[in-house]
Subunit: 549 residues, 2 copies
């Protein structure tokens, strides 16, 4: 129905630069094995091109290309791309060692960055506009002659076009004339808005050169800028998974892909690949150790989560009234959040998700009241699915007793050592009974919660060796009534994994140690319940939680 949609071009490129431009993100640093792992995941996602890095300039990147050439990973879908600059000023491409590194990388495609903004040529590169064009011609034609496919990234193209459109267009035409297959228009500083992208790409497309787009998110418009360029004629999109990149990051590639596949109806990935997008985005985040946002479009943990009670009853009628796509298309799931804004319908849906029959209205109403009471005192079950399940089991008399705690205590002290430096020490004791055996165990730790965790684990190990696999992977504290000073109520959320699945528990109280203990002991209880499930050792992560694992 929308007049703006054009048919999919006969040739269309999905070009990933997570390993190259994405790795410019603050705090992100990728080893060769990280790069190999991510390249495998990107290939599984089905992108057409994987830009692996800048061989010759960065030792890890040089090693990555060497490992790829040695067969460390065989790509099924993607072509490997090496990145580099046009040859240096006043040198022949054939003599420039950086150009040689591209040639010798064994990557079938080279993506060369070239200056296209006149001021950058004269002030940053400090050469003439003519020499810059010669550098492009020389480097592109040299690599083409050596058998590589060549794409050219025009750095600062949009700002360059605004300042000197004739020169910017001359760069595009020079690159194409020298043999560049695609000329990529880069919004390097990220300040361009979609209508301006549209106007400039439309004008540039009149050259007849096949165009690509490389957008950054500095105005919050990277995805829209990418689509605006596609609408104006681009046949090649660059981006990074999870939007990694310098400053505000690059165009988030899965959002671009999902928009093209599901909104435009363009099959830009191999059939079936998009359904793996959520898993792959999260697996890539595990490798980079830069968690993706829960709010990330399409693949975020919260992207199809509903909190509003007023929607819940209507969602039962028809979920598609409240979601823009079927979340399964990107491998994600609809989730109902249990919150104080939610009513009985939410709780029934959530209970059913967890495998409990809450069709009895009276039981559902009683549980809803329990949840409301708990939420009024500060508990939250939105994030703490495991605590919600324990609450359900308690109300339904389905809560097994794995251990019973008689007492615990924890002790922190700070005193000056012989050098006069204060030294802090924490110790705790836990007394409990498990499988009829009484245990009194002492624990040490960096702080009271860490010490209690160690003691509880050691007390349970004789009866349940499986708790040895449990690991606390996240611990969060929220002061609920800010402004009350140190006697405020605190909420603690603890996330635990057994290596297969991850679960979150909650504890609340005025005493931070007590609240932590509640979340901690519930984490062990939930883990023990599910450790005994048939097939739990080979079980998949539950769909609503797998993204944490």
């Amino acid at each position: 129905m929308f007049s703006s949609l054009r048919p999919m071009p006969a040739e269309f490129h999905v070009f990933d630069t997570t390993l190259r431009d994405g790795s410019q993100q603050e705090g992100l640093s990728l080893s060769v094995s990280d790069k190999l792992a991510i390249a495998g995941l990107l290939d599984e996602l089905g992108v057409g091109f994987i830009e692996g890095g800048w061989p010759g300039a960065n030792p890890a990147d040089t090693s990555f290309f060497a490992a790829m050439a040695d067969g460390a990973l065989t790509l099924k879908n993607a072509e490997l791309v090496c990145f580099g600059f046009t040859r240096r000023v006043g040198m022949r491409a054939a003599d420039d060692p950086l150009t040689a590194a591209l040639r010798e990388s064994h990557a079938p495609v080279a993506c060369l960055v070239a200056k296209s903004h006149d001021r950058h040529v004269t002030q940053a590169l400090r050469t003439t506009l003519r020499e810059n064009l010669d550098m492009i011609t020389d480097t592109v034609s040299h690599l083409r002659a050596e058998g590589q496919r060549v794409f050219v990234d025009c750095e600062h193209f949009f700002d360059g076009y605004a300042a000197n459109p004739a020169y910017a267009l001359e760069v595009v035409q020079t690159a194409a004339a020298a043999g560049a297959e695609v000329v990529v228009l880069c919004d390097t500083n990220g300040g361009t808005l979609p209508p301006w992208v549209s106007e400039i790409v439309t004008a540039t497309a009149e050259t007849g050169v096949p165009l690509g787009i490389h957008a950054h998110n500095d105005t919050g418009c990277a995805v829209a800028n990418t689509l605006a360029a596609v609408d104006a004629g681009a046949m090649h999109v660059q981006g990074t998974v999870n939007g990694y990149g310098e400053r505000t990051g690059n165009a988030e590639l899965i959002s671009v892909i999902a928009n093209l596949e599901l909104k435009y109806g363009w099959p830009v990935l191999p059939a079936g690949s998009l359904g793996e997008a959520t898993r792959l985005a999260h697996e890539i985040a595990e490798v980079t150790n830069a968690p993706s946002s829960a709010r990330q479009p399409y693949v975020g943990l919260s992207s199809f989560a509903h909190k509003a009670g007023l929607h819940a009853s209507a969602i039962k009628v028809d979920p598609n009234l409240y979601q823009h796509i079927d979340p399964g298309l990107v491998g994600n799931d609809m989730r109902m959040l249990v919150s104080d804004m939610a009513g009985r319908a939410n709780i029934q849906i959530k209970g059913e998700e967890l495998g409990f029959d809450l069709s009895d209205r009276e039981i559902a109403a009683r549980i809803t009241d329990r949840v409301k009471d708990a939420e009024a005192t500060g508990y939250t079950y939105e994030a703490a699915d495991a605590s919600f399940e324990l609450l359900l089991r308690r109300e339904l008399d389905q809560l097994p007793t794995y251990f019973s705690v008689q007492s615990w205590r924890v002790f922190t002290q700070s005193a000056h050592n012989r050098l006069g430096v204060p030294e802090t020490d924490t110790e705790c004791t836990v007394r409990l009974t498990a499988k009829g055996q009484s245990q009194r165990v002492v624990g040490e730790g960096n702080g009271p919660v860490n010490a209690l965790d160690h003691a509880l684990r050691n007390a349970l190990l004789p009866a349940y060796p499986g708790v040895g696999r449990f690991e606390l992977i996240d611990y969060r504290v929220r002061i609920l009534d800010q402004g009350h000073g140190s006697d405020a109520t605190v909420r603690v959320l603890i996330q635990t994994t057994d290596g297969m699945r991850a679960w979150t528990t909650v504890g609340v109280g005025q005493n931070i140690v007590e609240a932590s203990w509640e979340a901690l002991s519930d984490a062990y209880l939930y883990g023990l319940i599910h450790a005994e499930e048939p097939g739990s050792d080979t079980g998949r992560l539950p769909s609503t939680e797998q993204v944490h694992a």
Copy 2:
């Protein structure tokens, strides 16, 4: 130069819905005092409208409007807006208690949500298309007659227009005819792309009704969709600070504002306000405890951070070659990632603000290094001015000794009482010397920090009776390296008042009790230093901290 830019409309609304739609975000839960604090910060940002919540439906929201009516906060720039639905099916607006709650909220503006998608009327609301129009007319005209300004949010407008454009337009015209000042087109499910927003807003604008836009980020295009609507004629933009909101969140309001101010050249905020945007976005994130992304456009910690070595030398030539705006325009800073946020110039300015002479370059450089080292381990001095002053005094040998602590210890235990109910008890001991007198004092409390606070106060009272006026008014904990489980590093911020002024101190460590002790003892030390200043009893709260007080 861009043909798409139109002149700024004579009337233009910046409408913030952080407190209403933003609070639908998973994991976000705002108390009345949180809402008051955020409303103050939004007013300082200079938005025109603050949607505070849904009185009558949500007890915390009802209390927030009551507190605002009682003068808990006086807005300087913004109008307060209450949110609600059109009256219920088959009832008169005058008789609907939810409509009464809007009328009685004392908010000068009501924003009513109305269905505009035919299937939502028949399947979710389960009434006729005619009755839905009557509900709009009845509710709008009732509230207008009672003296409120009324905006109408058309829920699911874009999907509704796609399914049944005639009905969607009839809803817009009905709302305007009944007296709605602005009709806001909502992309409730967030699935619409910018060219489609453009097409539909253009068509709807032909009605002549003043239009607004409310976008969600499900396709990664919320900011672009908002701008597309503005380009097509909208004169009212809705969004949330930090993009908070259900699923993928709402349009990030500061990105929208900065794009309009800096790219369009439209003065949509009071003069000078935009320069506070970075600070205000981060202070709002402190209140919600939902950290904003380092990659957030304009205000993110990384948004003007440069890592690429290849840029570094050119940035020295002209920083504007590598940034799309001057970061100072939004109160942010360019950062080279080899160095740290705090530059020497900053520290000199800040030191002078506090009354210290840091003109000696060597001293300033040494202090800058100390700040960098401390920030690298997790300290933050942006929020903790008092700890920064103590650091300065320590480096300048101007730190008086009011007390010296020999040791402290704290003990928490939980055991079953005679009724079999676990009972928790916390006790601590502090040993210190003040004015030559040795003190060993025991303290009790709800938790370890509360107990230490009581003991420290009691130990200092004999020597310094003034500490009796000190009161801890805020205590915050942030886990710095989430994902490390219970041995993560934590940062504690403590705010203290003596009834006249408030100050904030920071402590960092793996042991939460130790980090709290650091912030706590520094809070007493800072208070004692300033208790002896002439005129300290008449001091004002520092402006950046009063909003939390």
